[in-house]
């Protein structure tokens, strides 16, 4: 068994408005001198530490957990899972 760090990034699906990201873009970034920035989407990240046999199993277990416990609401959100060896 090895210890893995798993990042779960939860964000609104494309097409669903994200007023937080829009405000950061419009009222902070574009008011500075960063006019090349075109879009900002806000997200929430959970960092897990999990003991599993390998990286693939760690990812599978966390994906199942996120689906079973509704860590995200699939009507509005999507998740991205990133696994790192500790």
């Amino acid at each position: 068994m090895s210890l893995y760090t798993v990042h779960v990034i939860i964000e609104n699906k494309p097409g669903i408005s994200d007023p937080e990201g829009e405000t950061i873009l419009k009222d902070l970034v574009l008011k500075g001198s960063y006019s090349s920035v075109k879009k900002i989407r806000s997200a929430k990240m959970l960092k897990f530490k999990i003991n599993e046999k390998n990286k693939a199993l760690a990812e599978k277990k966390i994906q199942k957990l996120c689906d079973d416990l509704r860590i995200y609401n699939p009507m509005v959100s999507k998740i991205t899972i990133e696994v790192f060896e500790d």
Binding site: S17, P19, L69, R70, M75
Partner: protein, 226 residues
Amino acid sequence: MKVGVVVFPGSNCDRDMYHVLSDVFKIDTQFFWHEKKLPKNLDAIILPGGFSYGDRLRAGAIAAHSPVISDVKKFASHGMPILGVCNGFQILVEAELLPGALLKNNSLNFMCKWTNLIVENNSTPFTNKLKMHQKIPIPIANGEGRYYADGKTINLLKKNHQIVFRYADDVNGSTLRIAGICNKEGNVVGMMPHPERATEPEINPIDSKPASLIFESLLNAIGVTQ
């Protein structure tokens, strides 16, 4: 008749609901801690507003896994009238008893203000004494009250008459200005505004009668004549 008010860690409109049910409408009302089983002799269940588990993760997401929810689901499938108000609505959605999602208000602010609802379905246990398109002056108090459902779900909601209340004006960016919905069978209703804060003239500066009809509808639905 007996109505159960479920209390989650962080519920804070449970006592307001209890007061209105027991003192204003003289209903035998009992609190149930979310870890308890619900008795079989209940006539209706109400999930009150507040901030269960501090709205960690997102509003209602953790309370939706409370032990009491399996009983709520069981009674819902038997046709018992169930009402979720504000956080109670968010819990019903997260428990998948109602479809959709409640997102942060467009303003990103906690909104506490009077709104007007329009009745869109007057055949649920909580709206049968109201007229179609009747206006209800009622307050909202939430940070995550923007109802969202995808196109397919919205079509189903329309087809099955599941849209129960809409805001008269756009208050927070909700899809179709939806403020409350019901399940396909109509016995499970969720609404973001607070009827328990609008039924008494002392605290409703506009008109307390329409919001009172929500509770009178429940009495009517469970066969109590007034």
